[in-house]
């Protein structure tokens, strides 16, 4: 995936100002940033959900905005802050996604069963997705993104609201996926997860890319959290305020 000078403006606020980023094939890329840094906006523009005011996005060599069909065919997305078709049950939702991607029914059935089983969502569960817990919703969203075996996965906050056991399982799935030649880019603000998983990281703040490169190059000999706090320019220690607490 490569982004070239993406810009997005909401009303008068500049949400993302000129982000250029190259995600090498086969990398496990972590996109870090404080709340409101523009992570979701950037990823939405990269996958063709939000039209950028300027700049280009290429997925596996195809221009997302010029040749969307070819670019999207090899892409799996887990958007954040976007609803699923939540009046379907988990199994129905997976079947829906599989058929939308033009897969044949037998393959969809087999993969859907496996995914529901591995993610512990229950193969024959008749609960509608709208009644799922937040963590289950993340998991079914991830299953939908994985179903058609894409070459590139774009995941927005995949570990948010997921319990530790499921998180470990998702980490395992993603690591195997990357080992098998896939590429993952995901956003997060949990340093530990990023440090444990990623080969590359990028730090975004106020719509500008502050740092990017391999994990080791970015953090040097310090912890990733220290680097992050310094780059973002925030303070962690509180002074005399909140003395009443």
């Amino acid at each position: 995936m490569s982004l070239r000078g993406l810009v997005k403006r909401f009303d008068t606020k500049l949400a993302v100002s000129g982000v250029s980023l190259d995600v090498p094939a086969g990398s496990f890329y972590g996109l870090l940033g404080p709340n409101g840094a523009g992570k979701t906006t950037t990823l939405s523009m990269a996958v063709g959900l939000l039209r950028p005011d300027a700049g280009q996005a290429f997925l596996l060599g195809y221009d997302v905005w010029a040749d969307p069909a070819a670019a999207k065919a090899r892409l799996g997305v887990l958007p954040d802050g976007v609803r699923l078709f939540d009046r379907l049950t988990g199994a129905e939702l997976l079947a829906y996604h599989g058929l939308l991607r033009g897969m044949d029914a037998a393959t969809v059935d087999q993969r859907a069963r496996e995914l529901l089983d591995v993610l512990e969502l229950g193969v024959s569960n008749k609960t509608m997705v709208v009644d799922y817990s937040a963590g289950m919703r993340k998991k079914i969203g991830l299953a939908c993104a994985l179903l058609h075996a894409p070459r590139l996965l774009v995941l927005d906050e995949p570990f948010e609201a997921v319990d530790p056991v499921s998180a470990a399982r998702i980490r395992d799935i993603l690591q195997r996926y990357v080992a098998g030649g896939g590429t993952v880019i995901f956003s997060s603000h949990v340093m530990e997860v990023v440090e444990r998983l990623c080969s590359h990281v990028a730090i975004l703040s106020d719509g500008v890319l502050r740092m990017h490169g391999t994990l080791d190059a970015v953090r040097g000999d310090r912890s990733l959290e220290d680097v992050f706090v310094q780059v973002v320019g925030a303070r962690v220690a509180t002074g005399s305020e909140l003395a009443w607490l």
Binding site: L49, V82, L84, R87, A95, G98, G102, V108, N125
Partner: protein
Amino acid sequence: MALTAAPSGSSLTFVRLKLRLIANGLRGRPGRVALFLTGLLLSGIFAVAGYAIFAVPGVLGDDQAAATLLPLGGAALVLGWVVLPLVFFGVDESLDPARFALFPLRRRALITGLFAAALVGLPTLATLVATAGTVSTAAQLGGTAAALTQLAGIVVGLLLCVAVSRAVTSAFATGLRSRRSRDLAVILLAVTAALLGPLQLAVLAGLERADWAAFGTVADVAGWTPLGAPYSVGLDVAAGRAWAVPLKLLIVVAALVGLLWWWSATLERAMLGAAAGGRGGAATDTRSPVGRLLAGRLPATRFGALVAREVRYWMRETRRRASLITFTVVGLFLPVSISMSGGSPGPMALFVGALAAVALANQFGYEGSAYAANMTAGVPGRTEIHSRAAAHALFTVPLLVIVAVVVALVSGRPEAIAAQFGGLVAAYGVGLGVVLPVSVVAAYALPETTSPFAVSSGGGVAKGLLTLGAMVATVVVSAPLQVVGFFLGDVWLWLGLPVGIAYGCAAYLIGSGIAGDRLDRRMPEVLAAVTPGR
């Protein structure tokens, strides 16, 4: 926020919060401002017209007319406050009670605060101005004392209007939230809507006979119910029955307290959230995922999946189901009532067909940002539009057949079934042709609540305008067919079906083609438009 900081003036805080929400909703959004101004204009027209009507008996100095009009008109107004939010406008739930669940507010403070905030709005202002006409009448007939009493009456009456509308919508919404009573509530709603028609016919029939004595009796009775009491106190003073005033005010205040208590009881349940549990792992289904989605009947293709998902949504989502039910009730009731009163059922085919299609006018708004899934899967615009129309037609076409059969039988012309159906299909096709491009260009977000009545500020106006516009356009476009049918006479009985279907299909193909191409170019814009809170 100063909510907890000012416990004494907390009602005022709620009002300020509501005003701030309205102002923030308008800031930087020219479309919203335009809608707000339209709402302002319509409210103004309503207020002035209402004032004029209520003031007429006073100007004429007609005691009899005043004694009839004031209690009955007032009662109609209160009933309007009950029915209209349910059926047409929805309620402005910008102050969602659930948001206050965590604040340390006592129930009484919360209710008075929410009630005070509910009083802020164009409808209350318009109602107050309109009912002020009764004060003018009371002043003309009974002098200052009567006017002052009437003034107190309309203020209490306004409180009653707001309380009754909040209590009823809240009770319905609570009913709709829990799975078990949801269907019951939807049916109740449909029946309420259906009752409006006969009521109207009864009133019209009464007016035609001009049975004023009967009306007088009804008005006297209504004057002693909470519905009409607030609007007749001034007349009692004028007629020398001052003893009735405290009694009537007592009746109204008792009703008001009762309604507020009912409201607070349902609010309590709403704040605790929907009762979700009860059927977790028990229900299982062993069919394959694809088999479950397609129910074994649709092709295992992209189109089949899209149609299957839409069909599920029409059945499972409250808003869509409510619109299907409303259409069924209106679609059957209207033509039948016209046929029975001896009118020609031809033009109403236009109306029914158009009404069916209007359900798709904001089709992308129904599921909101979930549309992102279809975008990332790269569904072409035309496939998207065709699948949505096909799923809707699966429900609508059988209904149109029933309407055609029923209308032809009721009007005593069974030979006209085919032509009648042709006319309906033509109107439905034209309606789709008009509505589908609108749904792409003018999509708007619906709030993410389970209450089918909730609209965001200004949403009621948008919904009404969009519906009206699509209806008018449909009637205009399909008028030529009606004219041809009228002049051909009996030949039309044979030609009506094929020509109607061809006309409808042609209109649909043109409209869906335009809509699909526009959608291909506007997908991100449509997604942004239907995502709430942007």
